[in-house]
């Protein structure tokens, strides 16, 4: 996905409001109305279930964040060879990489998740030796499947981004590196990779926010993230509005914090005209 599309889909650092803009008259009225609405919701709606669930909500948020960061990092690491091989690689690596990216990006994440968890799960009874292997404790749990599916999905989308980034690094710089007598690995390590990552950075931050928006799906395969905790609240209290509003608020805060963190780091990384 291009940078513009990612920006359209994910809340990005450019969208954070500036502090001065809060003091315009119409905005003050709107903020007052909004605070009034929040107070009305807090007072008039049923929140008696909240104290019971706070520790579970906390651990759910930690699980969500763990899913987000682990899969983003692993997915990015996988995306680098995927992107590189589509630019340089021999045909027998380029083809499968393209196929992989096309298939993963062409099917819904929910389907991939269920295919991994229930599809592989249905194979286990047919191969009893799996249960004795060292992998069994991991194949038994649900979170490895969540991590695997999210990582694969992130890698496929980032693979496209990295492909564009690797292809976009000016050819002249690579030639200069070769002229200096740098070996292929040194050129990759010192010129190509850093320049490509610099080019891809704005899109990557947007894609990480998108990854956060994908993490709730793991709740459908019994991983207890914050979405699963709120689902439990909904099932036990039968309330329609309150749990979902709280969940939306939690994700708004998580996204906001993530985007603030990205803006802080973006300002610290020097980008000399990437």
């Amino acid at each position: 996905m291009s940078n513009e599309t990612t920006h359209a889909l994910a809340f990005s650092p450019e969208d954070l409001p500036q502090a001065e803009s809060f003091f315009k008259p119409h905005r003050i009225v709107l903020i007052a109305l909004f605070v009034g609405l929040v107070l009305a919701i807090a007072i008039l709606m049923r929140w008696d279930w909240l104290p019971r669930y706070v520790p579970r909500l906390g651990s759910g948020i930690l699980v969500s964040l763990a899913m987000l960061f682990s899969t983003s990092i692993l997915g990015f690491l996988l995306a680098i060879p995927l992107g590189l091989v589509q630019v340089t690689g021999p045909w027998f690596l380029k083809g499968p990489a393209r196929l992989f990216c096309t298939v993963i990006r062409g099917t819904p994440l929910l389907l991939q998740l269920w295919l991994l968890y229930y599809g592989l799960g249905s194979l286990f009874p047919q191969f009893p030796t799996i249960r004795q292997s060292f992998l069994w404790p991991y194949l038994r749990e649900a979170w490895p499947y969540g991590v695997a599916a999210l990582t694969i999905s992130f890698a496929a989308y980032e693979g496209e981004v990295m492909r564009g980034a690797f292809a976009g690094v000016p050819e002249g710089e690579l030639e200069a590196a070769r002229a200096y007598g740098m070996g292929r690995w040194t050129m990759f390590r010192r010129i190509w990779l850093p320049r490509a990552v610099h080019r891809a950075l704005p899109t990557l931050t947007g894609e990480t926010v998108l990854q956060l928006k994908s993490t709730p799906l793991v709740a459908t395969i019994t991983v207890i993230d914050v979405y699963a905790v709120i689902s439990k609240v909904r099932q036990e209290t039968f309330l329609t509005y309150e749990p979902l509003l709280l969940l939306a608020l939690i994700y708004l805060c998580l996204t906001g914090l993530l985007v603030l963190a990205f803006r802080y780091f973006e300002n610290r990384i020097p980008t000399r005209g990437a």
């Binding site: 099917t107 249905s122 799906l217 329609t240 708004l252």
Partner: protein, 239 residues
């Protein structure tokens, strides 16, 4: 020895489940088309509101797009499907109109449409901003009414900028329909899970559903390529 894969389960008529899967697929496409269209309508309104509207309208639209862009689609789908339709019924009740029976299809289109609307607003806003200001000024200098400027200058000129983003939104709409399985709407992913649950052939059915989605994506990409080439004829990339 029995074949490893029981292909007869995919047969188009009973006892094969292929026919049911295709029906679910058709439902998915229906919701995707309806939701995408609704999203475009909301997006056009939203983009114009954000670019030319008053400060209050702009702030409200900013809230709308921020919430949709920051909250996961799954949560939005739950919110709109349960809380949204309940709110709608209560509003209609207040107005004395009686509860409206919102069919599953309408609810699904509404949900996908609202989400797509926020995305379309951003894509279209970016595309309209990219239209050279000089062209709009020239149109106004000619005395064209705002509606005419919109129809003859802005919309055609912004299309080449908007099409990559809008085509991505279409692909996202087709994949977001799968999330409606979580609210029990009978689209392809839910039907696949039901069929897999009834026959225990999980791998086969999920792969079949994946193949259907992939086919939809590939066909969409072909059509989008054609549309893009047509829209870009005579178009000079402004750098």
């Amino acid at each position: 020895m029995d074949s490893f894969v029981n292909w007869s389960l995919l047969a188009l008529s009973a006892p094969g489940w292929g026919g049911l899967l295709l029906q679910g697929f058709v439902h998915s496409i229906e919701i995707a088309i309806g939701g995408y269209a609704l999203g475009l309508l909301l997006g056009i309104g939203g983009a114009f509101g954000k670019l030319y509207g008053g400060p209050v309208l702009r702030d409200l639209l900013e809230c709308y797009t921020t919430i949709v862009r920051a909250v996961p689609e799954l949560v939005l789908i739950l919110l709109l499907y349960y809380a949204g339709t309940d709110l709608l019924n209560q509003l209609l009740g207040l107005l004395g109109l009686g509860a409206v029976d919102i069919s599953g299809l309408m609810a699904g289109i509404f949900v996908i449409g609202v989400v797509q609307g926020a995305y379309s607003t951003e894509v279209l806003r970016g595309a309209i901003k990219a239209v050279p200001a000089g062209q709009i000024e020239a149109a106004r200098a000619y005395g064209m009414s705002p509606a005419k400027v919109l129809r003859r200058i802005t919309l055609p000129a912004m299309l080449p900028y908007a099409i990559p983003g809008l085509s991505n939104l279409w692909l996202i709409a087709t994949k977001d329909t799968a999330l409606l399985a979580v609210v029990g709407f009978a689209e392809l992913t839910l039907v696949t899970r039901q069929a897999a649950g009834a026959t225990k052939a999980y791998f086969l059915f999920f792969c079949a559903a994946g193949a259907l989605y992939l086919a939809l994506t590939l066909v969409s990409n072909l059509i989008i390529g054609v549309i893009e080439r047509h829209a870009r004829r005579g178009f000079v990339e402004q750098r």
